[in-house]
């Protein structure tokens, strides 16, 4: 599904700004990968670069999606391929209704794939269903996109989009941060219900807690732009107990 090869990334137009320093990562169909790492280690950068954010340059390496390089593709084209990023900090867009936005997103993808657009009626039904499922106050989605949403409401709203768009590769950047227990369960249930042999997840998180609900196939530790350790679910438990210290020294001596 996704293969990242020796990926090196800097910030556009800033010298000596390398953030990702050679990442290798392979996500097979149906797998759930968790990425953990200290603040500023490059997790969001990786997520954004996968989605094609223009602020970064790839200085070395490649990203393959279903075997084809996607580094030259625009963000919207990656979305059309079936990639999705749940943002750590979703942007606020005044005057745009969540309903209108999500319908436009679905339509754009259908257009690009030459598929038939979902009817307004079917979409409305699906939308209302999912609003309830992710536990968003229906009044909220009548407002502007993310504007005045609480931290948790923004994250629930990202889940709503994920569940409506049903991407093939979903990248969740700290979707569990700032959530109450109920919301955490909603995120977990959302992911678990969508798990399937042809859908993969990359879940960036700081908390082992989430991984109690979502059993990852693989856990990676990202420190200072490098994946310093890869293992099974037990790795997350270890981090919870000992912190990143042990890996920092590994990273330094390696």
């Amino acid at each position: 599904m996704l293969e990242i090869q020796n990926l090196r990334v800097s910030v556009l137009d800033i010298d000596d700004s390398e953030i990702l320093k050679g990442i290798d990562l392979k996500v097979n169909n149906g797998e759930v990968h968790a990425i953990m790492g200290p603040n500023g280690s490059g997790k969001s950068t990786l997520a954004n670069v996968l989605m094609g954010r223009p602020d970064y340059v790839i200085t070395e390496g490649d990203i393959l999606y279903d075997g084809k390089s996607i580094v030259a593709l625009l963000p919207e084209h990656r979305a059309h391929l079936g990639m999705f990023l749940a943002f750590q900090y979703p942007a606020e867009i005044p005057g745009v209704r969540p309903w209108q936005f999500l319908k436009a997103a679905l339509d754009a993808r259908a257009d690009a794939r030459g598929e038939e657009k979902m009817s307004v009626r079917d979409f409305s039904k699906l939308f209302d269903e999912k609003v309830e499922a992710v536990g968003i106050n229906p009044q909220l989605v009548k407002r502007s996109l993310n504007e005045g949403f609480s931290g948790g409401e923004k994250k629930r709203h990202e889940m709503l989009q994920l569940e409506v768009l049903k991407p093939e590769l979903a990248i969740l950047d700290e979707t569990d941060s700032g959530l109450d227990v109920d919301a955490l369960r909603i995120v977990a249930e959302g992911v678990n219900s969508m798990r399937s042999p042809d859908r993969s997840f990359i879940i960036v998180t700081h908390y082992q807690r989430l991984l109690n609900y979502i059993k990852p196939d693989v856990v990676h530790i990202l420190i200072d732009g490098r994946i310093v350790k890869t293992g099974g679910p037990e790795l997350a438990l270890k981090v919870e107990k000992d912190g990143y210290k042990p890996y920092t020294s590994v990273g330094a001596t390696a």
Binding site: M51, L74, P75, P90, I93, F101, A104, A108
Partner: protein, 487 residues
């Protein structure tokens, strides 16, 4: 098919940007270029006007000549344009086949109807489906008025200005110039002297006009000045919503448009006036385009309400300040505006709210979008007279910048002569952020779609004041007008 050829030539020159750039091949009845008393007389006689109307025009003409000689063309607006040679303009152009005044749509030149079709004017069936009465002004003469009969049963008069002069002289005499006198300003004087046609509406006491009244203006003949005059009167307790749409074909030379709109809202009545202005803005390099100098003003009597909503995307230069004189106690004035300037367009637009009555209330929401080398100025005046006890004004001015070569300016002017007034003023300037763009693109919207969604959202407070179909058109217009500015 000359007009077909013109279409393809137009799109070669300006790409997708101006959809309405085609010229219709209809014989035009042209008066010679230039302005003098004889031209004023000619216009008046072409329209078979009564003597009093001619007299009024001549008074206006003489006043304008004085202004012109003393070089009183206004220069305070933040717009730059080459000096206009008023002797190098045609002041009268009537489509030939219409001088024999068509009795119904069947009598109208089919080519003209085809033009309306291209413009998307919902005449005939489409008008009926849309529930709109259209009074289309083609150059200078009103071509067709639909729904006249249905409206007539309610006592509503909706016709061309010329017809009103002939058939309803008492109403015209009583109200013409009562809100915008011919001495008001340079362009208003010019209009009063040579106005060609326009629309007239009268809603009798207590009647709620059941459909949106709509006028579509379009400038066709090269170098024609278009000077429409619109007069709308809502009698006591009446309600009317009026829509005005404007387009002009692609021309390399500048065209002058100096219109006057007067609204009279008598006690307890309400007038809602919506405009989508899409005159030809000039080429992306700044050649050609319409000079749009418009005076729009309304008078609100006791408990009356006047709302102006405008979406201004066209014209090389827009100079326009729809205003409300809040004369009666408890009267309400509103102004909702989105003005977009792209390439080399310039807009200096805003409003005046003049509070005279007690407990009068005004709301101003002015949004300016600047892209390319566009220059956008909001100029507003809120005047609270000593008699206006407990007047309230809320003003909100928002600017949105796209790119870094454009400009946005706000010139709010407030004068308070009664201490009980309450005024609020908010202003903001924003840019479309990279975070917003990436968020939408990551969901599959193209860069252009993303910009369009952000800008439409940003304009929502104004768009939601427009009748639904107009709101869709307005949003489409923003999209077309911004092509090339983003990406």
């Amino acid at each position: 098919m000359t007009s077909q050829n013109t279409i393809s030539r137009t799109s070669d020159l300006s790409g997708q940007e101006y959809q309405y750039g085609f010229v219709t091949d209809i014989e035009t009845d042209l008066a010679p270029k230039g302005l003098n008393e004889d031209i004023v007389r000619l216009i008046s006689s072409k329209k078979r006007e009564p003597e009093w109307m001619l007299e009024w025009r001549l008074k206006a003409y003489r006043y304008w000549v004085e202004l012109n000689e003393s070089e009183s063309e206004p220069e305070w607006a933040n717009v730059k344009y080459p000096k206009i040679d008023y002797q190098d303009i045609y002041y009268y152009a009537a489509p030939k086949s219409v001088t024999e005044a068509p009795k119904s749509l069947d009598d109208v030149d089919p080519e003209m109807l085809a033009t309306f079709e291209k413009l998307g004017i919902p005449l005939q069936e489409r008008a009926k489906l849309a529930g709109i009465a259209v009074d289309a002004v083609f150059d200078s003469v009103s071509v067709a008025t639909t729904f006249e009969k249905q409206l007539g049963e309610l006592g509503i008069i909706f016709c061309s200005f010329s017809e009103a002069v002939r058939n309803h002289p008492d109403l015209v005499k009583k109200y013409l110039g009562s809100v915008v006198p011919y001495t008001d300003n340079f362009f208003a004087s010019l209009n009063a002297a040579v106005f060609s046609d326009g629309s007239f509406a009268y809603i009798p006491p207590g009647v709620r006009c059941p459909i949106e009244l709509m006028t579509y203006f379009r400038i066709n003949t090269a170098d024609t000045g278009q000077f429409e005059r619109t007069l709308i009167i809502a009698d006591k307790g009446a309600y009317v919503s009026y829509l005005e749409g404007c387009t002009a074909p692609f021309r390399k030379t500048h065209q002058l448009h100096a219109a006057v709109v007067e609204l009279i809202a008598l006690d307890d009545s309400q007038i809602k006036y919506s405009t989508i202005q899409n005159w030809f803005p000039g080429t992306p390099e700044g050649e050609g385009g319409v000079f749009n100098f418009v005076t729009k003003r309304g008078r609100a009597d006791k408990n009356a309400k006047i709302s102006w909503t405008q979406v201004e995307t066209g014209s090389a230069i827009t100079w326009k300040y729809p205003s409300v004189i809040l004369k009666g106690d408890n009267s309400v004035g509103e102004f909702f505006s989105v003005a977009l300037t792209n390439n080399y367009q310039q807009a200096d637009t805003g409003t005046k709210m003049i509070h005279i009555g007690k407990n009068t209330k005004s709301t101003i929401v002015a949004k300016g979008i600047s892209a390319g080398h566009g220059n956008n100025t909001y100029r507003g005046q809120v005047l609270i007279m000593p008699s206006a006890e407990n007047a309230v004004n809320h003003t909100q001015c928002d600017s949105l910048l796209i790119g870094d070569k454009c400009g946005a300016h706000t010139v709010p002017y407030i004068e308070v002569r009664n201490p009980t007034a309450r005024l609020e003023h908010e202003a903001s300037t924003s840019k479309v952020s990279d975070d917003q763009l990436f968020y939408l693109r990551a969901r599959g919207l193209s860069e252009e779609e993303a910009h369009h969604m952000i800008i439409t959202g940003w304009s929502r407070e104004v768009f939601q004041e427009l009748p639904f179909e107009f709101a869709l058109e307005a949003s489409q217009l923003l999209k077309i007008s911004l092509e090339g500015a983003v990406g």
